[in-house]
């Protein structure tokens, strides 16, 4: 099978799995019950998209979905850095009082920053929307058919992100300052969603997927007016964080996988 298509599918599925995992860490910790449930649903949606794309990869000769999710090391993942980032503010990240037996949850309880999770989801959903809209007309028919099924869910994800982003910065000074801080922290990673790959030209020439730079421009034209509308400053000098698409990840990706894969790796032969 065409290695360019395989690489594209891994990037899509790995992004979905990892942001789904990160967002699911907030289940039970959301700011209010309703938003907790809504945000957890979005996480489930992304896990579902990832599973569907892993299944497609499996049909193309790659290992089974569980194998791909639980038995690959960080260097084999093709997700961008944005999705793997931990939602702790920089100053608080060092101390980890242990409350229960899940260190990630403990740190979210004591130091978690909801604004980071929310702004990340907004940036990511807008990218999903741009990317999947393009892929709905992909010449690689199995992928086009699949992503058309995701449309309704992605529509809700962008509605969620836009509604929150239009209100929180305008609500209170604290809201504005926290959203601004999250945008400043995440922007370089958000640009990294569109890290160029060596397959870009091939995929775009074949009508399978537009080049990453094209998608990035479309994403900016959607996201930037929404930020400006609520008076959020866009960091213009930030350089994109690249590396994830080539399997070069930050240390957070390693700790995320050790959490996420722990149980499956304890007994690889267990039947679920």
């Amino acid at each position: 099978m065409n290695p360019a298509i395989i690489d594209l599918l891994y990037r899509l599925a790995d992004d979905g799995l990892i942001i789904g995992h990160r967002n699911s860490e907030w289940t039970g910790l959301g700011p209010i019950l309703e938003e907790d449930i809504a945000f957890s649903s979005v996480a489930q949606d992304k896990m579902g998209h990832a599973l569907a794309i892993y299944n497609l990869l499996h049909e193309l000769g790659e290992p089974a979905p569980d194998q791909l999710a639980f038995f690959r090391d960080a260097a084999e993942f093709r997700n961008c850095s944005l999705v793997a980032l931990e939602c702790f503010s920089e100053t608080d990240a060092a101390s980890t009082p242990s409350l229960r037996n899940n260190p990630t949850r403990d740190r979210l309880v004591s130091h978690g920053d909801w604004s980071l999770a929310l702004v990340r989801q907004f940036f990511f959903s807008e990218a999903d929307s741009v990317r999947f809209n393009a892929l709905a007309n992909s010449t690689f028919e199995p992928l086009a058919i699949l992503v058309r099924k995701f449309r309704g869910e992605i529509k809700y994800h962008t509605l969620h992100g836009r509604t929150m982003m239009r209100r929180l910065p305008a609500a209170t000074l604290e809201g504005r300052s926290r959203i601004q801080k999250a945008v400043d922290t995440l922007w370089p990673h958000a640009l990294g969603l569109f890290e160029p790959t060596r397959y870009d030209k091939q995929l775009s020439d074949a009508g399978i997927c537009p080049g990453e730079s094209v998608l990035c421009e479309q994403w900016r034209s959607e996201v930037e007016p929404i930020l400006r509308e609520t008076g959020v400053h866009i960091p213009t000098t930030a350089a994109p964080v690249y590396g994830g698409r080539a399997g070069k990840h930050l240390t957070e990706m390693v700790s995320l996988l050790s959490d996420m894969q722990k149980v499956a790796r304890m007994d690889p032969d267990a039947k679920w």
Binding site: L33, E34, E35, A38, H160, T163, R167, A171, T172
Partner: protein, 100 residues
């Protein structure tokens, strides 16, 4: 810049076009758009749904429970009830069979 207070919104759910909107519960939200956003995940993630209404609870006028006696019938009004009709009986029989 002022923080909008959260209020309660009553949620009405429609399972198919043409069906009535049915009250299914309530959500907390600062405004109508956010209420719709929350209602969708609270009440339409399992049930089939094509449309949702949200209405501020404040907009609802209710009867006091101490006046519940005004709904009672002082004399026999069973002639108003529809259960005597043959069609109603047949519809009920079909409904009961469908539930089994």
């Amino acid at each position: 810049m002022t923080q909008t207070p959260e209020q309660v919104w009553e949620v009405f759910h429609q399972s198919a076009r043409g069906e009535p909107h049915v009250h299914v519960g309530s959500v907390h939200a600062t405004d109508a758009d956010t209420a719709v956003l929350m209602a969708k995940e609270q009440f339409a993630r399992r049930l089939a749904c094509v449309n949702i209404w949200v209405v501020p609870s404040d907009a609802i006028t209710e009867t006091p429970y101490e006046d519940a006696d005004m709904f009672e019938h002082g004399t026999d009004k069973s002639y108003r009830e529809a259960f005597g009709y043959e069609t109603t009986k047949r519809a009920k029989a079909v409904g009961d069979a469908a539930e089994l």
